[in-house]
Amino acid sequence: MSLLEVSDLRVQFETEDGVVQAVDTVSYEVASGETLGIVGESGCGKSVASMTILGLTRGPQTTISGRVMYEGRDLLALGADDLRRVRGNDIAMIFQDPLSSLHPFYRIGDQIVEAIRTHQDVSRAGGRARAIELLDMVGVPEPSRRVDDYPHEFSGGMRQRAMIAMALSNEPKLLIADEPTTALDVTIQAQILELLNDLQSRLGMAVILITHDLGVVAENADRVLVMYAGRIVEAGSIDQIFHDPGHPYTWGLLGSLPSLDLHRHEELPQIAGLPPSLLAPPAGCHFRDRCPHAFDQCMKVPPLESRLPDSPEHRDRCWLTAEQKHDLRTVDGRIGLQAPGARAS
C-alpha cells in the first residue's frame, strides 16, 4: 500500500508577466520504506511539486488543484493548523542550503529542541537529551558539546547533518530531501547519502530524493520520476530509466553526462536549445521544440502511460512507438539524443 498518493497535482503561480504553470498534472505514489528519486533541471517543477505536499507554496498568487492523499487524508484540503501537525512530524523536509535553513541567531540544539517540542510533550531537558542523541546518530562528533554551537560554527556537511537530525527528530514516515547534497563536496556528499540510506533502513521511512544529479539517483533511489517543464515525462525503476529509457529528454540527460567511454575532444552529446518558459510552453509535448524526433502527433500532449505490456510500471510521455524508441536512442553506441537535423542512418 502506498504511503503517499499524489494525483493530478497542478500548481499555478500568478505573476506580473502572466500565469506560470509550474506543476502540470503530476501523479505519483510513494510506498513505505522506498526511495523515490525526482530528477530534472532547474525550473522543471520538482521542488514546487514536493513543497506543495507540505503546503509550503500556498499563497494568494497560487492556484493548487488535485489531491495529495496521506493516511486517508487529503493534505491539500487540510487547514493550516492540521497541516502543521503533519509537517515536521509525519512528513519532514530537508533543503539544499543548510546555512539558510538554520536560524543564525539560535543554537543548533535549541532549534532541534523546538522541532521536538512542537510535536511531542517533552520537557526542555528531555528535548535537549534527545537532541544530543540525534546529533550523535547523524554523526556529529562530541554532540554534547556541539549541541550548544551556533550554525556558523558548523561546517557545511555538519550543518546538513544537523538539518537531518532536526528532520528526523519526530521519526517521520516520509522524508522529502530537496537537493540535500548539492551544496556539498563530493566526499561529504557520499557521507551524507550513506547516512540517509543507513537511517532509512533503520527507521523504515520513505524518502523522496529530489536532485539534478543522475549519479546520486542511480546510487540511491529505487524508482525515478523524470520531470520536464512541469510534467513527469518518464517514470520507472532505476534500471528501466538508466538502461531502457523511453523519453527523448531522458536520453538527452543520460547522453550529456561525460562518460568513461568517451574520448577527450569527442563532442559531448548535448540537448540543443533551452527549456521552455513556463509562461508560454509549447502546445502539446513540452519537449517538442528540442526533440529531433518530433512529428505531427507531438502537437497533442502525450499521456503518461506504459508503452510495453510486460512493464506496466515503466511509463513515459512520448508518442514514439517502443520500436522507434529502441532504434532512435542509440547515438555512437551509447544512449543519447541525436543532434538536431541528423537523421538516423
Partner: protein
C-alpha cells in the same frame, strides 16, 4: 605538446594568508596555506584540469597565477617572462594574453551594462577596437559563442544562465588570449546546458589554439576536457598526470577517495550498499 618551452610555467607557487589577532596591534597568530608550493606547466593549445574540493586552494591558485593577488613566493612564467613582482602597469599588456572565465554567470557580469559594453570593454582597454568596429567585433564574438548578434544591446538579466556564461566566454575571448583560466565554468549550470558550454569551449580551443586551465570540483567533467589533470588538496598538488591515467589508476590516497565518492550514473555499476 613537447616542442619548445611551455606557455605557462608555475614553479613552487605559494600563497599564505596571515591570521591576525590583537586589539590595537595586529599580531600574526597563524597562516592559511591556501596555495602551498604548487608547480605545473601548460603548453600552447593544451588543457590542464585542476580538480579539488572547496577550500583546496583552486580559486586562490588561479588568482595568484594571474597576479590578481600577490603570491607569497614562487614563480609564474608566461612565455618565459616572470610575472611575479611585476607592477600593475607592467602586467596590463600581458593580461591581454591571459583571460579568466568565472563560475557564477549571475554575479560576474555587471547588471547595469549592456552586452556590447561588457564584451567590448576589454577590446577598448587593450586598444583592439573602438567605435563602429567595436560593435562589429562584439557581434562577431557573440556569433562565435552561439548567441544571436542582434542581442548586443541587451542586459545580462535578459539571458538564461547558460547564455550568460556564453557572454562571459565572449568577454574572455575579446582580447584574443592565448590562455584562459576557467574557474568552475559549468558548475552553476544545468546538466544539458553544461554539455553545450563544454562543447563550445572545446570548439573554440581547436579554432583558436587556446590553452585552458580548467578548474572544477567535478572530476567527470575535468576528465572529459583535460589532457592532463592535477589533483589539489589542502593547497598542494597531490597527484598530477595524463587525464586517463589519473582517473583510471590513481596512486594518491586522496585521489582514490575523490574518485570513489563520485556517484556513478549507472545503477548496475555503482549501487551503494543498502540502497
Amino acid at each position: 605538446m613537447t616542442a619548445g618551452s611551455p606557455l605557462l610555467e608555475v614553479a613552487d607557487l605559494v600563497k599564505h594568508f596571515p591570521i591576525k589577532a590583537g586589539v590595537l596591534i595586529d599580531r600574526e597568530v597563524g597562516r592559511v596555506r591556501a596555495v602551498d608550493g604548487v608547480s605545473f606547466t601548460v603548453a600552447k593549445g593544451e588543457t590542464l584540469g585542476i580538480v579539488g574540493e572547496s577550500g583546496s586552494g583552486k580559486s586562490t591558485l588561479c588568482r595568484a597565477v594571474l597576479q590578481l593577488i600577490e603570491p607569497t613566493s614562487g614563480s609564474v612564467r608566461f612565455e618565459g617572462r616572470q610575472l611575479v613582482g611585476l607592477g600593475q602597469r607592467q602586467m596590463r599588456p600581458l593580461r591581454r594574453d591571459m583571460q579568466m572565465i568565472f563560475q557564477d554567470p549571475f554575479s560576474s557580469l555587471n547588471p547595469r551594462q549592456r552586452v556590447v559594453q561588457i564584451v567590448g570593454a576589454p577590446m577598448r582597454l587593450h586598444g583592439i577596437a573602438s567605435g563602429s568596429d567595436l560593435k562589429r567585433e562584439v557581434q562577431d564574438l557573440l556569433d562565435r559563442v552561439g548567441l544571436s548578434p542582434e542581442h548586443y544591446n541587451r542586459y545580462p538579466h535578459e539571458f538564461s544562465g547558460g547564455q550568460r556564461q556564453r557572454i562571459g566566454i565572449a568577454r574572455a575571448l575579446a582580447t584574443r588570449p592565448k590562455l584562459i583560466l576557467a574557474d568552475e565554468p559549468v558548475s552553476a549550470l544545468d546538466v544539458s546546458i553544461q554539455a553545450q558550454i563544454i562543447n563550445l569551449m572545446s570548439d573554440l580551443q581547436r579554432e583558436l589554439d587556446l590553452a585552458y586551465v580548467f578548474v572544477a570540483h567535478d572530476i567527470g567533467i575535468v576528465r572529459h576536457v583535460s589532457d592532463r589533470i592535477a589533483v589539489m588538496h589542502d593547497g598542494k598538488i597531490v597527484e598530477h598526470g595524463p587525464a586517463r591515467q589519473v582517473c583510471s589508476s590513481p596512486t594518491d590516497s586522496y585521489t582514490k577517495k575523490l574518485l570513489a565518492a563520485v556517484p556513478v550514473p549507472d545503477p548496475r555499476r555503482g549501487r551503494r550498499a543498502g540502497g
